[in-house]
Symmetry: C2
Subunit: 175 residues, 2 copies
Protein backbone atom coordinates (compact mmCIF):
# COMPACT_ATOMS: atom_id res chain seq x y z
CA UNK A 1 0.00 0.00 0.00
CA UNK A 2 1.47 3.34 -0.93
CA UNK A 3 0.61 6.77 0.39
CA UNK A 4 -1.29 7.74 -2.75
CA UNK A 5 -3.75 4.93 -2.13
CA UNK A 6 -4.15 6.19 1.44
CA UNK A 7 -4.69 9.76 0.30
CA UNK A 8 -7.48 8.64 -2.02
CA UNK A 9 -9.40 7.06 0.89
CA UNK A 10 -12.54 8.55 2.44
CA UNK A 11 -12.30 9.02 6.22
CA UNK A 12 -14.42 5.89 6.60
CA UNK A 13 -11.98 3.78 4.58
CA UNK A 14 -9.06 5.36 6.46
CA UNK A 15 -10.70 4.34 9.75
CA UNK A 16 -11.45 0.84 8.46
CA UNK A 17 -7.76 0.35 7.72
CA UNK A 18 -5.92 2.41 10.37
CA UNK A 19 -8.59 2.56 13.10
CA UNK A 20 -6.74 0.23 15.47
CA UNK A 21 -3.11 1.32 15.09
CA UNK A 22 -3.61 2.62 18.64
CA UNK A 23 -5.47 -0.15 20.44
CA UNK A 24 -9.21 0.58 20.71
CA UNK A 25 -8.61 4.32 20.09
CA UNK A 26 -10.17 4.99 16.65
CA UNK A 27 -10.64 8.57 17.91
CA UNK A 28 -6.90 9.15 17.39
CA UNK A 29 -6.88 7.80 13.83
CA UNK A 30 -10.04 9.78 13.09
CA UNK A 31 -8.45 12.96 14.47
CA UNK A 32 -5.28 12.48 12.45
CA UNK A 33 -7.32 12.26 9.23
CA UNK A 34 -7.80 16.03 9.62
CA UNK A 35 -4.15 16.35 8.49
CA UNK A 36 -4.56 14.49 5.20
CA UNK A 37 -3.21 14.37 2.54
CA UNK A 38 -0.16 12.72 4.11
CA UNK A 39 3.36 12.84 2.70
CA UNK A 40 4.14 9.24 3.76
CA UNK A 41 3.08 6.45 6.11
CA UNK A 42 5.71 7.78 8.52
CA UNK A 43 3.92 11.10 8.30
CA UNK A 44 0.73 9.44 9.56
CA UNK A 45 2.64 7.94 12.48
CA UNK A 46 4.17 11.31 13.33
CA UNK A 47 0.74 12.95 13.44
CA UNK A 48 -0.49 10.14 15.73
CA UNK A 49 2.46 10.62 18.10
CA UNK A 50 1.98 14.39 18.11
CA UNK A 51 -1.71 13.97 18.96
CA UNK A 52 -0.84 11.63 21.83
CA UNK A 53 1.95 13.88 23.14
CA UNK A 54 -0.46 16.81 23.33
CA UNK A 55 -3.03 14.93 25.41
CA UNK A 56 -3.15 15.70 29.14
CA UNK A 57 -1.79 12.96 31.46
CA UNK A 58 -5.36 11.64 31.95
CA UNK A 59 -5.65 11.15 28.17
CA UNK A 60 -2.36 9.23 28.06
CA UNK A 61 -3.53 7.09 30.99
CA UNK A 62 -6.79 6.59 29.07
CA UNK A 63 -4.88 5.19 26.08
CA UNK A 64 -3.13 2.68 28.32
CA UNK A 65 -6.47 1.69 29.93
CA UNK A 66 -7.82 0.80 26.48
CA UNK A 67 -5.16 -1.93 26.26
CA UNK A 68 -5.88 -5.48 27.37
CA UNK A 69 -3.95 -7.29 30.07
CA UNK A 70 -1.28 -9.62 28.75
CA UNK A 71 -2.68 -13.16 28.93
CA UNK A 72 -5.72 -11.68 30.68
CA UNK A 73 -9.51 -11.95 30.53
CA UNK A 74 -9.78 -10.82 26.87
CA UNK A 75 -7.35 -13.50 25.73
CA UNK A 76 -9.22 -16.14 27.74
CA UNK A 77 -12.64 -15.04 26.50
CA UNK A 78 -11.51 -14.62 22.88
CA UNK A 79 -12.42 -10.92 22.82
CA UNK A 80 -8.97 -9.52 21.99
CA UNK A 81 -8.69 -7.36 18.87
CA UNK A 82 -7.15 -9.25 15.93
CA UNK A 83 -3.95 -7.22 16.29
CA UNK A 84 -3.54 -7.91 20.03
CA UNK A 85 -4.32 -11.57 19.59
CA UNK A 86 -1.57 -11.93 17.01
CA UNK A 87 0.92 -9.95 19.11
CA UNK A 88 0.22 -11.93 22.30
CA UNK A 89 0.49 -15.21 20.37
CA UNK A 90 3.82 -14.25 18.85
CA UNK A 91 5.19 -13.48 22.32
CA UNK A 92 4.17 -16.96 23.49
CA UNK A 93 1.41 -15.68 25.79
CA UNK A 94 -1.21 -18.04 24.37
CA UNK A 95 0.76 -21.11 25.43
CA UNK A 96 1.66 -20.46 29.06
CA UNK A 97 1.96 -23.15 31.71
CA UNK A 98 -0.49 -22.90 34.60
CA UNK A 99 2.31 -21.56 36.80
CA UNK A 100 3.33 -18.92 34.26
CA UNK A 101 -0.29 -17.81 33.84
CA UNK A 102 -0.65 -17.46 37.60
CA UNK A 103 2.60 -15.48 37.90
CA UNK A 104 1.58 -13.16 35.07
CA UNK A 105 -1.89 -12.72 36.59
CA UNK A 106 -0.35 -11.72 39.91
CA UNK A 107 2.08 -9.28 38.27
CA UNK A 108 -0.76 -7.74 36.18
CA UNK A 109 -2.79 -7.29 39.31
CA UNK A 110 0.06 -5.71 41.33
CA UNK A 111 0.85 -3.41 38.43
CA UNK A 112 -2.76 -2.21 38.00
CA UNK A 113 -3.16 -1.67 41.72
CA UNK A 114 -0.05 0.48 41.84
CA UNK A 115 -0.57 2.49 38.63
CA UNK A 116 -4.31 2.41 37.78
CA UNK A 117 -3.62 1.28 34.22
CA UNK A 118 -2.46 -2.00 32.69
CA UNK A 119 1.11 -3.00 31.88
CA UNK A 120 1.68 -2.22 28.19
CA UNK A 121 4.64 -3.57 26.27
CA UNK A 122 5.36 -4.12 22.59
CA UNK A 123 4.92 -7.89 22.94
CA UNK A 124 6.07 -8.57 19.37
CA UNK A 125 9.55 -7.32 20.25
CA UNK A 126 9.68 -9.57 23.30
CA UNK A 127 8.88 -13.03 24.67
CA UNK A 128 7.14 -14.31 27.79
CA UNK A 129 10.35 -14.53 29.84
CA UNK A 130 11.50 -11.00 29.01
CA UNK A 131 7.97 -9.70 29.55
CA UNK A 132 7.78 -11.05 33.11
CA UNK A 133 11.27 -9.75 33.90
CA UNK A 134 10.31 -6.34 32.52
CA UNK A 135 7.07 -6.30 34.56
CA UNK A 136 8.98 -6.97 37.78
CA UNK A 137 11.43 -4.23 36.94
CA UNK A 138 8.84 -1.64 35.83
CA UNK A 139 6.75 -2.29 38.95
CA UNK A 140 9.53 -0.40 40.79
CA UNK A 141 9.06 2.78 38.71
CA UNK A 142 7.11 5.77 39.94
CA UNK A 143 3.77 6.51 38.23
CA UNK A 144 4.97 9.41 36.05
CA UNK A 145 7.97 7.42 34.77
CA UNK A 146 5.73 4.47 34.08
CA UNK A 147 3.18 6.57 32.18
CA UNK A 148 5.98 7.76 29.87
CA UNK A 149 7.29 4.20 29.47
CA UNK A 150 3.82 2.83 28.69
CA UNK A 151 3.23 5.49 26.03
CA UNK A 152 6.65 4.72 24.48
CA UNK A 153 5.52 1.11 24.14
CA UNK A 154 2.18 2.21 22.63
CA UNK A 155 4.16 4.04 19.94
CA UNK A 156 6.31 0.97 19.22
CA UNK A 157 3.15 -1.14 18.85
CA UNK A 158 1.67 1.50 16.54
CA UNK A 159 4.83 1.54 14.41
CA UNK A 160 4.72 -2.24 13.91
CA UNK A 161 0.99 -2.16 13.12
CA UNK A 162 1.53 0.54 10.47
CA UNK A 163 4.46 -1.44 9.02
CA UNK A 164 2.28 -4.50 8.77
CA UNK A 165 -0.42 -2.50 6.99
CA UNK A 166 2.15 -1.02 4.62
CA UNK A 167 3.10 -4.61 3.71
CA UNK A 168 -0.53 -5.21 2.89
CA UNK A 169 -1.19 -7.47 5.88
CA UNK A 170 -4.54 -7.00 7.56
CA UNK A 171 -6.04 -4.81 4.85
CA UNK A 172 -9.76 -5.17 4.20
CA UNK A 173 -10.15 -7.30 1.07
CA UNK A 174 -12.03 -4.56 -0.77
CA UNK A 175 -8.89 -2.36 -1.00
Amino acid sequence: MDIHAVNRMSYEEFLDVFGNIIEKCPLITAAVWSNHPFSSLNGIEERVYEFIDHLPPSGKEGILRCHPDLAGRELTSGSLTIESQQEQRQAGLTSLSTEERETLGLLNSQYKTKFGFPFVICAKMSDKYKIMEEMRSRLQNDPSQELLKGIEEVKKICHLRVQQLSNGVGLPTKL
Copy 2:
Protein backbone atom coordinates in the same frame (compact mmCIF):
# COMPACT_ATOMS: atom_id res chain seq x y z
CA MET B 1 -27.07 2.77 40.05
CA ASP B 2 -25.67 5.28 42.49
CA ILE B 3 -22.32 7.01 42.49
CA HIS B 4 -21.00 4.86 45.36
CA ALA B 5 -21.39 1.76 43.19
CA VAL B 6 -19.51 3.57 40.41
CA ASN B 7 -16.72 4.62 42.74
CA ARG B 8 -16.22 1.01 43.84
CA MET B 9 -15.61 -0.09 40.22
CA SER B 10 -12.21 -1.02 38.83
CA TYR B 11 -11.27 0.91 35.68
CA GLU B 12 -12.18 -2.20 33.67
CA GLU B 13 -15.70 -2.31 35.14
CA PHE B 14 -16.05 1.45 34.63
CA LEU B 15 -15.09 0.99 30.95
CA ASP B 16 -17.49 -1.96 30.58
CA VAL B 17 -20.36 0.24 31.75
CA PHE B 18 -19.48 3.76 30.54
CA GLY B 19 -17.15 2.93 27.65
CA ASN B 20 -19.60 4.00 24.93
CA ILE B 21 -21.18 7.13 26.42
CA ILE B 22 -19.21 8.88 23.66
CA GLU B 23 -19.74 6.73 20.58
CA LYS B 24 -16.74 4.45 19.92
CA CYS B 25 -14.47 6.63 22.07
CA PRO B 26 -13.63 4.48 25.11
CA LEU B 27 -10.43 6.54 25.33
CA ILE B 28 -12.48 9.43 26.74
CA THR B 29 -14.18 7.31 29.41
CA ALA B 30 -10.83 5.73 30.24
CA ALA B 31 -9.22 9.16 30.58
CA VAL B 32 -11.99 10.46 32.82
CA TRP B 33 -11.46 7.55 35.22
CA SER B 34 -8.27 9.37 36.28
CA ASN B 35 -10.59 11.82 38.13
CA HIS B 36 -12.32 9.19 40.27
CA PRO B 37 -13.79 9.09 42.85
CA PHE B 38 -16.67 11.09 41.38
CA SER B 39 -19.10 13.22 43.36
CA SER B 40 -22.08 12.30 41.15
CA LEU B 41 -23.04 10.95 37.73
CA ASN B 42 -23.26 14.57 36.60
CA GLY B 43 -19.69 14.93 37.77
CA ILE B 44 -18.66 12.16 35.36
CA GLU B 45 -20.42 13.94 32.52
CA GLU B 46 -18.72 17.23 33.39
CA ARG B 47 -15.27 15.59 33.27
CA VAL B 48 -16.17 14.09 29.88
CA TYR B 49 -17.22 17.47 28.50
CA GLU B 50 -14.09 19.14 29.89
CA PHE B 51 -11.91 16.51 28.25
CA ILE B 52 -13.66 17.04 24.90
CA ASP B 53 -13.51 20.85 25.18
CA HIS B 54 -9.73 20.70 25.72
CA LEU B 55 -9.11 18.60 22.60
CA PRO B 56 -7.73 20.40 19.54
CA PRO B 57 -10.20 20.87 16.63
CA SER B 58 -8.80 17.70 14.97
CA GLY B 59 -9.72 15.72 18.10
CA LYS B 60 -13.26 17.09 18.07
CA GLU B 61 -13.54 16.23 14.37
CA GLY B 62 -12.20 12.78 15.26
CA ILE B 63 -15.04 12.27 17.76
CA LEU B 64 -17.60 13.12 15.08
CA ARG B 65 -15.91 10.74 12.60
CA CYS B 66 -16.36 7.89 15.09
CA HIS B 67 -20.13 8.32 14.72
CA PRO B 68 -22.12 6.30 12.17
CA ASP B 69 -24.16 7.85 9.38
CA LEU B 70 -27.87 8.07 10.16
CA ALA B 71 -29.57 5.20 8.32
CA GLY B 72 -26.17 4.43 6.75
CA ARG B 73 -24.00 1.39 6.07
CA GLU B 74 -23.69 0.35 9.74
CA LEU B 75 -27.46 0.26 10.15
CA THR B 76 -27.85 -1.75 6.93
CA SER B 77 -25.07 -4.19 7.83
CA GLY B 78 -26.18 -4.55 11.46
CA SER B 79 -22.85 -3.27 12.82
CA LEU B 80 -24.18 -0.28 14.79
CA THR B 81 -23.32 -0.14 18.50
CA ILE B 82 -26.28 -1.19 20.69
CA GLU B 83 -26.76 2.42 21.79
CA SER B 84 -26.81 3.85 18.24
CA GLN B 85 -29.12 1.13 17.03
CA GLN B 86 -31.64 1.95 19.73
CA GLU B 87 -31.36 5.70 19.11
CA GLN B 88 -31.78 5.40 15.34
CA ARG B 89 -34.74 3.06 15.81
CA GLN B 90 -36.46 5.46 18.21
CA ALA B 91 -36.11 8.27 15.66
CA GLY B 92 -37.82 6.11 13.03
CA LEU B 93 -34.67 5.66 10.94
CA THR B 94 -35.02 1.88 10.76
CA SER B 95 -38.35 2.12 8.98
CA LEU B 96 -37.78 4.58 6.14
CA SER B 97 -39.45 4.41 2.76
CA THR B 98 -37.14 3.87 -0.22
CA GLU B 99 -37.48 7.53 -1.09
CA GLU B 100 -36.67 8.70 2.43
CA ARG B 101 -33.62 6.43 2.53
CA GLU B 102 -32.39 7.85 -0.75
CA THR B 103 -32.94 11.44 0.38
CA LEU B 104 -31.11 10.82 3.64
CA GLY B 105 -28.28 9.07 1.78
CA LEU B 106 -27.88 12.07 -0.49
CA LEU B 107 -27.92 14.54 2.42
CA ASN B 108 -25.36 12.43 4.35
CA SER B 109 -23.13 12.40 1.33
CA GLN B 110 -23.38 16.17 0.69
CA TYR B 111 -22.73 16.84 4.37
CA LYS B 112 -19.62 14.61 4.54
CA THR B 113 -18.25 16.08 1.32
CA LYS B 114 -18.61 19.59 2.70
CA PHE B 115 -17.40 19.00 6.27
CA GLY B 116 -15.23 15.86 6.26
CA PHE B 117 -17.20 14.35 9.14
CA PRO B 118 -20.68 12.86 9.44
CA PHE B 119 -23.86 14.66 10.47
CA VAL B 120 -24.35 14.03 14.19
CA ILE B 121 -27.62 14.73 15.94
CA CYS B 122 -29.20 13.52 19.16
CA ALA B 123 -31.65 11.29 17.27
CA LYS B 124 -33.55 10.36 20.43
CA MET B 125 -34.68 13.98 20.81
CA SER B 126 -35.88 14.07 17.23
CA ASP B 127 -37.67 12.18 14.45
CA LYS B 128 -36.93 11.44 10.81
CA TYR B 129 -38.74 14.54 9.49
CA LYS B 130 -37.01 16.95 11.86
CA ILE B 131 -33.67 15.23 11.21
CA MET B 132 -33.88 15.78 7.45
CA GLU B 133 -34.98 19.38 7.94
CA GLU B 134 -32.09 19.96 10.33
CA MET B 135 -29.60 18.38 7.90
CA ARG B 136 -30.71 20.71 5.12
CA SER B 137 -30.39 23.68 7.44
CA ARG B 138 -27.02 22.70 8.96
CA LEU B 139 -25.58 22.04 5.48
CA GLN B 140 -25.59 25.87 5.13
CA ASN B 141 -23.31 26.37 8.18
CA ASP B 142 -19.60 27.02 7.87
CA PRO B 143 -17.24 24.24 9.05
CA SER B 144 -16.27 25.83 12.38
CA GLN B 145 -19.93 26.51 13.34
CA GLU B 146 -20.81 22.97 12.36
CA LEU B 147 -17.99 21.44 14.39
CA LEU B 148 -19.34 23.24 17.48
CA LYS B 149 -22.89 22.15 16.67
CA GLY B 150 -21.84 18.51 16.15
CA ILE B 151 -20.01 18.45 19.49
CA GLU B 152 -23.07 19.97 21.23
CA GLU B 153 -25.11 17.06 19.88
CA VAL B 154 -22.45 14.55 21.04
CA LYS B 155 -22.85 15.95 24.55
CA LYS B 156 -26.66 15.61 24.40
CA ILE B 157 -26.29 11.98 23.28
CA CYS B 158 -23.81 11.38 26.12
CA HIS B 159 -26.22 12.90 28.65
CA LEU B 160 -29.06 10.58 27.58
CA ARG B 161 -26.77 7.55 27.61
CA VAL B 162 -25.60 8.35 31.16
CA GLN B 163 -29.22 8.91 32.22
CA GLN B 164 -30.17 5.53 30.82
CA LEU B 165 -27.30 3.90 32.70
CA SER B 166 -28.30 5.67 35.92
CA ASN B 167 -31.74 4.10 35.50
CA GLY B 168 -30.05 0.73 35.31
CA VAL B 169 -30.73 0.23 31.59
CA GLY B 170 -27.90 -1.33 29.60
CA LEU B 171 -25.86 -2.35 32.63
CA PRO B 172 -23.90 -5.57 32.36
CA THR B 173 -25.86 -8.23 34.25
CA LYS B 174 -22.98 -8.92 36.64
CA LEU B 175 -23.32 -5.49 38.27
